[in-house]
Symmetry: C2
């Protein structure tokens, strides 16, 4: 029994790591919620909701992070005028061990659930798999959500805030926030959508042997380099084919490393490169050192800022590359390296 | 620009939570590796490799678990006579915080990577997403791998082994093992494949308010019930349409709860039900209490035993339902409940 083996593919496999979608995948709508510090940053006026109190009315940091995901999904669905039951799947994750912020945050929506872990790259991973689900006709609509919280992440990866430890200048500041994205395969004539996802480049884990959990940018730069370089190869594109190439949370040190690594491979992306972690805070005034980081960093900046630029046609085509550092406190304490992963998503103006 | 919107779908969306694949998804080959205790159990003779020493030549339990994934992938590829570079994607996960067993286990294969977390249901989640990738034409071949390790899991979720704590009779025994599965969309005439995946039913998180991390079976039974009941609804099937309905690691207490929950919904699956956690150990002789558990439990039993039965035509159609308990030590210590998730995969004889 061999079904429809000859029908046209939903997507073209491009090169070693990429897909070009042959059917429409739209970002129907999205929402972002952030904490007070992010609200005071340069993008503050763009977020949909800003908490006054980073506990968000909860008893623990972890519950607060769950409430971020819950609120981001709620707002994204509200803006899209859709109900949870219209979402075929939810693709979601966070940074905490066993992704607990996600489990408790989304459980009341009762949407069939795929839990993801790609550290701070999870926003890109969720959009990649969500796009595949829509493009393949496995779902009419899906929702993708990721989050992070400064206090729960410090406790998970470094030290509880109560210890009052000093942070080196290479450290990043985990963003308190969550971004949710509704993807759909169809739109009615004149129906408003925010953007279209036209392809993805899926990362390969990169391990350059770095071990410093206080310098994640350097650990993740090789992973961003892998995805960006491979995107150019797979699609036969040059840096100028993108209005922006936007990494998730490399921060200032990771940015320098990325630009150097790509120059070694013959590409100069300094005119196109932007990093969500650098944009979300004013590092000098806000004392955030290397920049923002976390699953919530790329997700909130994408929802609030990048999609706005694409929607308004200021940028026509963006390569969005959230990056993740694959470590845990156990692997760090056992002296393991910090490998990196990145997930590239091509987002275009719908016109 | 609207591409090929009228071409046939790759899959049919069935009911609220299921897909029926309209293109072929074959399990080309698979492999399993287990620890010494699993090797001494009732299925011991069926596993591809049994370790003499549960450190598997490594310095830490976490590294040992990484080596399990590495070996399972290596063996599965070897049996399938395929190279890592022929795998378009790897879908992988484990139980440890930030899925570190996976990150370090698979990094040298350099395969584009989607990291998953569904607790002990991750084997089903990886096969679900892997099947979608193959069915949608996003990949010709993918590999799915999951693992668990008794010692790393006890340390992660309960107490380090060195504490010598007592375990209640409701506790399960985390399986030390890993199973890897190569999925492919095409086969040459007379090419041997192990089985075919014809559909999936994706779980919704179920939270019945239970809080006992030493009684995971009861926490996960509602999730298994959700998937099995919904599978019957979505496909219009009855228990007897399956030769076996096989949960991952409910153990003896969870099995009783599942049978009761389904009876309340009007279905008696007692003739078809089997549980990997009950099969892998002789609970009485091996002192494993409620049964085996972990990402490695369902994966190794699927590879070594279930696929063998399907391949030989003893079972024609199986509903495979790995189950996961969504907790972390942080959520447990903060008094949270233990929600469950399950992922159903329909596996059939190729004939």
């Amino acid at each position: 029994m061999c079904h429809r083996q000859n029908s046209k593919p939903c997507a073209l496999q491009k090169g070693a790591q990429s897909l070009e979608f042959e059917r429409n995948v739209f970002i129907k709508d999205s929402a972002s919620i952030v904490g007070s510090k992010e609200g005071q940053g340069p993008l503050g006026s763009l977020f949909d909701m800003i908490g006054n109190d980073d506990m968000f009315g909860c008893q623990t940091w972890e519950e607060a992070e769950s409430s971020l995901q819950k609120d981001a999904v709620y707002m994204a669905l509200g803006k899209a005028k859709l109900k949870p039951s219209e979402m075929r799947y939810i693709f979601a994750g966070d940074l905490l061990g066993q992704s607990i912020a996600t489990s408790y945050g989304i459980l009341n929506y009762e949407i069939p659930f795929f839990g993801l872990y790609g550290a701070c790259s999870t926003c890109g991973e969720s959009l990649s798999l969500g796009s595949m689900a829509v493009c393949g006709g496995f779902a009419d609509k899906v929702i993708c959500v990721t989050s992070s919280h400064f206090a729960s992440a410090e406790k998970e990866f470094r030290f509880p805030l109560e210890y009052g430890n000093q942070r080196p200048l290479s450290a990043s500041w985990t963003v308190t926030g969550s971004g949710a994205f509704v993807l759909t395969g169809k739109r009615a004539e004149n129906e408003k959508v925010r953007a279209r996802i036209t392809g993805i480049t899926t990362g390969v884990i990169q391990d350059y042997g770095l071990k410093d959990s206080m310098n994640m940018g350097a650990c993740m730069a090789p992973a961003a380099c892998n995805v960006i370089y491979q995107n150019f190869m797979d699609f036969g594109r040059m840096p100028e084919d993108y209005d922006r190439i936007i990494t998730g949370d490399l921060g200032s040190i990771g940015q320098t490393a990325l630009l150097d690594l790509l120059r070694d491979k013959g590409f100069d992306i300094s005119a196109q490169h932007m990093d969500c972690g650098i944009e979300i805070f004013d590092a000098e005034k806000q004392d955030t050192h290397a920049g923002g980081s976390g699953c919530g960093c790329a997700a909130t900046v994408l929802s609030a800022f990048i999609l706005k630029q694409i929607e308004e046609g200021i940028w026509k085509r963006v390569l969005f590359v959230p990056t993740g550092a694959l470590l845990s406190k156990t692997s760090f304490n056992e002296g393991q390296t910090v490998p990196g992963i990145a997930h590239g998503v091509i987002i275009e103006n719908v016109g």
